[in-house]
Structures are given as C-alpha cells and as structure tokens.
C-alpha cells in the first residue's frame, strides 16, 4: 500500500484498502475558519430547526479554528461572522482558537504546520481546499465543504473513496534561482489542472530529500490546483525534526510499502528547470519568466499559504536587498510568528527600505476579498495559488503566479523578471 492507503486503512479499521474502496475513516484533526465556520454553524442551525439539537461535538480537543479570510474584519458582516466563530468556540469548548490580534494567528494552512496541529500519519480534514498543504507532514490532509466538516464534528468520521496515487519523483538539485513553486507550476502545466481529480499526488526523490520543509509545503499546497484529493510526502528525518521542534505530542510516522502501486509515475530532473510564471487565467498556462520579460506589472504580491512562509520571505528578501521597487509591493507574512521572525532577522527592514508595504497575515488579497484587491486591467505578479478571472479583484484584472524570487525581481524592474536578470 502507498502511504495514503496505509493511513486510510488504519483510520477505517482495515488491514488493507485499495483504490476505489469506499471507507468511513476516523478523523484525527479538523480545522474550520471564518468562512467554513459560519457555514458549519448554519448547518447546525438547520438541524436544530428540524429538531436535532446540537449540544456537543464529537471531540473538541481535535478541532481548531483560524480567523484568516476576512481579518481584519472587512465590514459589519465579516465582524459578525468572527463573533459567531468566537461564540462557537466557547459553546463547544474548542481549545485551539487562533484569534486575530491575540497572539499567534495566521492563515489556517500555515498554522497547521507551524504549530504542528496535525501530525504524521493522521487523517486531517479542513474546511478549505488548500488543506492539502499539510500533507507534506506525511499525513492524509484534504479539503471539504462545510456540510462535510459539520458531519465530522458530529460523528468523528467521514466517507472517502480511497484514491489512486500519482507519484512525482523529483531528482537532482534545484538551481539557486528555482523554487518549489516553479516545480509545481511546471507539473500542473505538463499534466493539467484536473490530473489529480479524485487522486492522491505524492512527491518523492532526491530533490525532495534535499528540500526544506517549507518548500515541500508549497508543492503539496498546489496539488489542489491539480485537482488532487490530497498531496503527500513520506516523512523523513527532516519531517520528524520539524514536528518535534514544535510539539511533544506522540505520533507514528507512516511510509508506503516497497511494493506500493502507483497509477502513474513521472520523473523530473529538476536541475534543468527555469523560473516559471503561470499567466492568466489558469495555473497551467505557463511560460518561463524570461519569455514574459516585456510584461509590465502594477503590483508585486508576497502573501498566502502558498508563498509567505518564512523561507519565502527570506528568498524574496535576498533578491530585493539594497534595491528599490518600481511598482507597489505588498508583503503579508502568512502567520504572526513568521512576521515576528522576519522582523527579528531584518527581512521586514529589507522590504520596507526597498519601498514595500507590510501587512498583517490574512487570506484577503489572495481571494480578492480585501486588503489590496486589483482594479480593472491591473496586473499583479503574485506568490499565491490561483489566477482565475477575478480571483484577486476585478474580473478583468490579471494575476501571474510565480515564486517569491520572481515576484521580488519583478518588483525591482516593474516587469516580470527572472531573478537571474537583475543585478
């Protein structure tokens, strides 16, 4: 069995499972945020109208809540949703609530690994599509809507069709100017935005072994853009160390069997990769950054669960250090602890001296909701994950997806720029 199959077999009390088996699996951890949370509450209210009063949830110690999409509160409605979330946390005794303005908080997927809220070998369900991110810890992590999350909160389990696994072997060493973001954009472009539909996407190979954890999260994060049910990487010593630095909670790491079956195996020699940019309006619509070097931009954005981890800020700061930006640049670290570390390590200074504005962690601009949305015809190069029409603002704005290095280089020139091409 693959790692995904082994985790689902354990969680459904079976010795083994095979792709296409339908199982009801026990869930170890559940996440909801200020969009899926009010959705869950609406579902509970509907149940109560039908006479099914919800007094308690299955296990509040396995549930955690993030405020990330509409913080800082955009308007009265968003503020009320946040109050609803807070009341929900109180009512059901949920211990982990990452509240905007009260210590550590940030984008839910970033918190999942920064705080080791999910452990290797676990089944983790989140009310957000990029829940796949956390799979780089060697867990089964998948996104769902609020009805399914409500079901899990009541029952502690949920149905899954066991997915087939596509294995991407990444071999070699990434060039210094190439990041995990370039790799995943290339993979999505080569295989399509629906290649992972109903499937697991697993990454392995010597390039993965060498890759820091934060870069691995970029890969699993964007398996969502390939349609995957989950993205996953078998835990190695780096994974174990990363988790143990953050928690004392015990866990059992799982890896796949030697004879595990994969529906497809693709191998990439990553030494040959170049900085990649996904043009509007699909993450699969790629060119090299150099092919787009005549595209002027209005904004360079570093933010989101995909591209505002500490390492992302560090790599962008290395490119931009001592230079001035030519277009507006907005940097929103993905979580409060990352922001603080960036401050202590001098990265915030580097960005501000270059001309950038720093904002609080929020999903706002990535989903076109607030905190810096795009006007009609504006062009943004962004470390985020989606560039669908209207994703980051006006339906006729344009988003180009790129690595933090490309975004930083582009901020300096005012055009899409390969980081090799600035001095």
């Amino acid at each position: 069995m693959t790692i995904t199959e082994k985790i689902l077999a354990r969680a459904s009390g079976r010795d083994r499972v095979s792709p296409d088996d339908v199982v009801f699996a026990k869930v170890d951890k559940v996440m909801l945020h200020d969009v899926s949370g009010p959705g869950v509450m609406t579902v509970f209210k509907e149940l109560e109208k039908k006479g099914r009063k919800v007094e308690k949830i299955w296990d509040p110690s396995r549930v955690w809540v993030a405020e990330d999409h509409f913080v800082p509160a955009v308007d009265k409605l968003a503020a009320e949703n946040i109050v609803m979330v807070q009341n929900f946390v109180k009512k059901f005794n949920i211990s982990k609530h990452f509240k905007y303005g009260l210590g550590q908080y940030g984008i839910c997927h970033t918190l999942s690994h920064e705080e080791a809220l999910v452990l290797p070998g676990e089944v983790y369900v989140g009310g957000d599509s990029h829940t796949n991110t956390t799979g780089a810890l060697g867990c089964f992590a998948t996104g769902m809507g609020h009805t399914d999350v409500a079901y899990v909160l009541l029952n502690g389990k949920i149905w899954f069709k066991v997915p087939e696994t596509i294995l991407f072997n990444l071999e070699g060493e990434l060039p210094s100017y190439v990041m995990a973001k370039d790799v995943i954009l290339k993979i999505i472009a080569d295989h399509g935005t629906d290649v992972g539909n109903y499937k697991a996407i697993q990454f392995a190979g010597s390039a993965i072994s060498k890759m820091p954890m934060e870069e691995r999260f970029t890969l699993t994060n964007m398996t969502t853009e390939a349609g995957a049910k989950n993205g996953i990487i078998e835990p190695d010593q780096k994974t174990i160390d990363y988790v143990k630095e953050r928690t004392d909670a015990p866990f059992t790491a799982v890896v796949g069997d030697k004879d595990a079956k994969y529906v497809d195996i693709h191998t990439y020699e990553v030494d040959k990769l170049e900085p990649i940019v996904a043009k509007p309006f699909s993450p699969a619509n790629i060119s090299t950054a150099r092919e787009l070097s005549n595209v002027p931009i209005d904004k360079a954005y570093i933010g989101s669960c995909t591209g505002a981890k500490y390492n992302d800020l560090l790599e962008a700061a290395r490119v931009i250090k001592g230079k001035k930006t030519k277009v507006r640049m907005e940097v929103l670290p993905a979580a409060q602890n990352i922001y603080m570390r960036a401050l202590k390590e001098g990265l915030i200074n580097i960005f501000m001296e270059a001309g950038a504005v720093i904002g609080p962690p929020t999903c706002g601009a990535c989903c076109g909701a607030h905190m810096g949305v795009l006007a009609k015809d504006e062009v943004c190069v962004s470390t985020t994950n989606r560039n669908f029409p209207g994703r980051m603002g006006h339906v006729e704005s344009k988003t180009y997806l790129a690595s933090p290095k490309v975004v930083a280089a582009s901020a300096v020139t005012g055009k899409i720029t390969d980081p090799r091409d600035i001095r």
Binding site: S36, N81, D194, C367, G368, R386, G390
Partner: protein, 160 residues
C-alpha cells in the same frame, strides 16, 4: 425533473466565477444566489427559472472548497449540473449538502445538448431525455454510496 438548459461550453468553470471571493462572508443562500456566476455571466441569474439545469465541460467547479458555490447555483434555480467531469470538492459538496445533482454525461450527449434545450432527467432510469431534440442519453451511474446519500437527502440524513 424537467428544466431548461443553460449551456456553458467550456472546461474548468471554477468556484471563483461561480461565486467570487468577496461574497464568501454571506451565509444567506438567497443573497448568495444573486451573485451566482457573476464572474462569468452577469445575466445568468436573470435567465433562470427554478428547476433549470446547467451543462458544461470538464472539471466543473474546480478551485475552492466553498460550499457557497453549489448553494448559490441551487438558490438561483439550478437543480442539476450536467458536465463531462467534476472537480472533487464541488461534487462532494453538491451531494453531501443535498444542494443539486452533479450528473456526469458522455461527450456525445454534451455535444448534442444546446443552450435552451428542454431536458428531463430520470435518475431511476439513469437517463437524460432531450425533449427539444427528441433524443435520450445515458448518464454515468452514481456510485453506490453517492446514490444512497442522494436518496437520504444529504450526508447528515444518511446512516452508514
């Protein structure tokens, strides 16, 4: 189920065009419905009657896990989406939340169905009848569990 087709002959209709991000703070389904498909077709809501169907290509509903997407479509009037394939979360949300029927159809049916055609969907028989063109297509059968959840009226009413 009988209704009129609204055909969007393209692949990858994503949840950001079905219901754009700024509206995710809205929980009132009728309010969400006013903005259904706003990212692609501002006239969409005006064209619909309750009980209408959408027809589209591959990977329908890709992107975010927002259940607001099937909710907005349903409350705008759509009771079934017929597509060549669906993104997994949209499919799951549609069935588990009992919002609408995600029906997979074959390429020949997809090519044959035109905008404004009248269809009759019979999930017992697994057939889609095109009343306008006097043709009948097979739908891809629902997997067993999906069928049971549909019959129960959503995952919250389903007992394994």
């Amino acid at each position: 189920m009988k209704g009129t087709v609204h055909k969007y002959a393209q692949n990858n209709i994503d949840t950001d065009v079905i219901i754009p991000g700024p509206y995710l703070k809205i929980m009132d389904p009728d309010e969400l419905a006013k903005h259904a498909m706003e990212g692609l077709d501002k006239e969409f809501v005006k064209k619909l009657k309750q009980g209408d169907f959408m027809v589209s290509g591959e990977n329908f509903g890709c992107g975010s896990s927002r259940e607001h997407a099937p909710i907005a479509l349903r409350h705008a009037g759509i009771t079934a989406v017929l597509a060549l394939s669906f993104a997994r979360i949209f499919y799951r949300n549609s069935v588990d939340g009992a919002h609408l029927l995600p029906i997979e159809i074959e390429k020949d049916a997809y090519d044959n169905i035109s905008d404004k055609d009248q269809l009759e969907i019979d999930i017992q028989k697994g057939e889609v009848k095109n009343i306008t063109k006097n043709k009948t297509y097979k739908m891809k059968p629902f997997p067993e569990l999906i069928r049971k959840i549909i019959d129960a009226g959503g995952i919250l009413n389903y007992t394994p």
